[in-house]
């Protein structure tokens, strides 16, 4: 009976406030780009590493924000953009959609010689790749008083107002070289939607939960028969 009671509580809590993680491999802890697509307009790309340096040009980074791995952009000849993209689909209903991530931007000089450019950016795209909104950035100058390499900036914001239900979108990180090489690091990407039922549907969910509880209660007895 104790087991059944706790199951009932779990079901109630689950149905009362449902949270869905829409991002796969957001912390890159698979050690790969699984779930993500990396593209580039030049000779560089985003890649996943656990090392505190970039893979092509060996520039220092602060490493992973948490866990072992993170994704970082790097290229040889500059003047290009690397993209790191993941497609996700929103659930049928949600009240909030909290996007969070950790991101750093380094350039080789610790400054950008006054040139303009997007540097590091985070964008929300539609399923056709069309821009819906720039969520964060551009970041292109970094005189971090702590010195290079720069630390992660943590981002967390509810973007539910930008999202429709049952719709496919793309979340895209980009790294665009300005006058020198830019390295953008990304880690701990998360997009969590929550659905808090209205009072009317809450009672419906409660009833459903009790129904499940009753079925769960019956099943063992059937096995005993």
């Amino acid at each position: 009976m104790r087991t059944l009671a706790s199951l009932a509580i779990f079901l109630f809590a689950f149905t009362a406030a449902r949270a869905d993680q829409l991002i796969t491999n957001g912390g890159f802890e698979s050690g790969t780009l699984a779930g993500w697509t990396a593209t580039s307009t030049g000779d560089g790309n985003f890649s996943v590493t656990s090392a505190a340096y970039t893979p092509l040009t060996y520039n220092a980074t602060v490493g992973a924000n948490s866990g072992s791995y993170y994704a970082v952009s790097d290229d040889y000849s500059g003047s290009q953009t690397q993209y790191l993209t993941q497609t996700f689909t929103t659930p049928g209903s949600f009240n909030s959609a909290t996007l969070s991530f950790a991101m750093f931007v380094n350039d080789v000089y610790g400054e950008d010689f006054g040139s303009s450019g997007p540097g590091g950016e985070v964008s929300l795209l539609n399923s056709m790749g069309g821009l819906i909104a720039v969520l964060y950035g551009p970041l292109d100058t970094f005189d971090d008083p702590a010195g290079d390499p720069n630390n992660y900036v943590l981002f967390s914001e509810d973007i539910a107002s930008l999202l429709a239900a049952n719709t496919t979108y793309e979340l895209q990180f980009s790294s665009t070289d300005t006058s020198g090489l830019i390295n953008v690091g990304v880690d701990d990407v998360s997009l969590v939607t929550t659905a808090t039922p209205e009072p009317a549907s809450l009672s419906l969910f409660t009833t459903g939960g009790l129904l499940v509880l009753w079925l769960a209660y019956r099943k063992p007895r059937a096995f005993q028969a």
Binding site: L56, S77, G78, Q80, V108, L181
Partner: protein, 448 residues
């Protein structure tokens, strides 16, 4: 008229070398040492003995990055520190650590301890020519070959303690930058122009790249001396000199790549935080460079140097670490310092030249592995061409610079040598310090 001086550009945190080079009809040529600077009789600091057992206690390097390296607190980089600071590991791996290539080094005089010193240095830092094993696995064990200026036995060539510093630093640093490459050291009879030029000619006929850390004052006769270098089919590198805003020959020759000097600072994990013009004052040296009084602007420098040097050849072409107070270690035998030891520290533009020669040897390794020819005598053209490169064909930089300029070069714009550093080309470090893995990829991938 500035007297012609030939010196080797070595600044020891304890020794300055002197040698003389007189070219052409030059009158007398006071011979100064090679372009190395370390503690020597004329430097106000002394050697620090470094434990040569590869132990972790070697690390005096708390200072780089802390800004406290000076004559009373000299600091050095381990060889792995240099690799990291210059981003070499990816390039070294692509270039098979220079396997199959030969680095030529030309120095005056002969130190019979050179091979033993190289072995001890390599043992301390875990390089393939050491006896302690190495994490770098060469397909074929690299060799050090020492010959006289005509390719014979060097055993009859005289010893000179100042040049011994240059010889040992050149050999040890070249091995570290391209750990699987063979080294050909040409020991010339003395430091006269004629003998050194003879040595250079032997070296470029038998090596894939040649580094030289010596030079002297300019003179009209240098134009005819260029005939010693123009036939080379391999890159020739020279150090720019250690006496500040002064040009030296052969660095001003359009047929050689002239290498200026920097001070390098890093994080505790030895990634570069800043790099600026090497200038420790008149007592301890500063990078050479300027506008040649005799040589005209070569076509490859068109657009890059005229605003400063007009129709004259401007030097240096590139820069690299030279500051002896953020320098490197050197293993010297008892014949030089009384006790055989690994010592801290040595530098000078004498250091910068073998560093770049060694690093480019990895580029050669990768080019050959990819079925391409080794870098040739057109290295300078490639260096300036790289600074003009734009991947999209449209530059975001003022002409003649390309969009990739600051990806391929760390543009040194801080400090002065007597001449100020500026953004873009200047008389302290030329185009800047190559970003070796990036420009290396350009040389490997983009250059036919």
């Amino acid at each position: 008229m500035i007297p012609k001086i030939i010196k080797s550009y070595l600044l020891l945190v304890a020794a300055v070398l002197s040698c003389s080079l007189a070219y052409g009809q030059a009158t007398s040529v006071p011979v100064v040492p090679p372009d190395s600077i370390g503690p020597d009789q004329s430097r106000p600091f002394s050697w620090v003995v470094v434990p040569a057992d590869g132990s972790s206690s070697l690390n005096l390097v708390n200072a780089p990055g802390q800004g406290t390296c000076n004559s009373s607190n000299p600091c050095y980089y381990t060889e792995a520190n240099i690799w990291t600071a210059y981003g070499l590991p990816p390039l070294q791996a692509r270039g098979k650590y220079g396997q199959g290539m030969t680095i030529g080094i030309v120095d005056a005089y002969y130190d019979a301890q050179t091979a033993a010193n190289l072995q001890a240095f390599s043992t301390a830092w875990g390089l393939p020519m050491g006896t302690s094993g190495s994490s770098i696995n060469c397909t074929t064990t690299p060799t050090l070959t020492i010959v006289s200026q005509t390719g014979g036995s060097p055993s009859g060539v005289a010893f000179n303690a100042n040049w011994a510093l240059e010889i040992n630093m050149d050999v040890q640093q070249a091995h570290s930058m391209a750990p699987c490459a063979n080294i050909l050291l040409v020991a010339t009879n003395n430091n006269s122009n004629a003998n050194l030029y003879t040595g250079v000619k032997y070296a470029y006929a038998h090596a894939d790249i040649v580094t030289n850390s010596w030079g002297g004052g300019e003179g009209a006769s240098e134009l005819s001396a260029d005939a010693n270098f123009s036939p080379s089919t391999v890159p020739l590198l020279f150090s720019a000199g250690d006496t500040g805003a002064i040009t030296e020959y052969p660095c001003t020759s359009p047929y050689v790549t002239c290498v200026g000097g920097t001070t390098l600072l890093t994080t505790a994990s030895s990634f570069r935080t800043s790099e600026y013009v090497w200038n420790d004052g008149s007592a301890n040296g500063a990078t050479g460079g300027g506008c040649s009084s005799a040589e005209g602007k070569p076509s490859y420098a068109t657009g890059f140097t005229e605003s400063i040097c007009g129709s004259a050849r401007g030097v240096p072409d590139v820069g690299a670490l030279a500051d002896e107070f953020t320098g490197v270690t050197i293993y010297l035998g008892a014949n030089v310092e009384g006790t055989a030891n690994l010592y801290c520290c040595i530098g000078g533009t004498s250091l910068a030249s073998p560093l770049i020669a060694g690093i480019l040897t990895n580029v050669n390794g990768a080019r050959v592995a990819g079925g391409k020819a080794k870098l040739g005598s057109g290295l300078n053209s490639l260096l300036y061409q790289a600074a003009s490169y734009s991947p999209t064909g449209v530059s975001s930089q003022p002409a003649p610079y390309g969009s990739s300029y600051r990806s391929f070069y760390f543009d040194v714009y801080t400090g002065n040598s007597g001449f100020p550093a500026t953004t873009y080309w200047d008389r302290t470090t030329g185009l800047g310090v190559p970003a070796f893995s990036a420009i290396g990829n350009y040389f490997i991938t983009n250059v036919p």
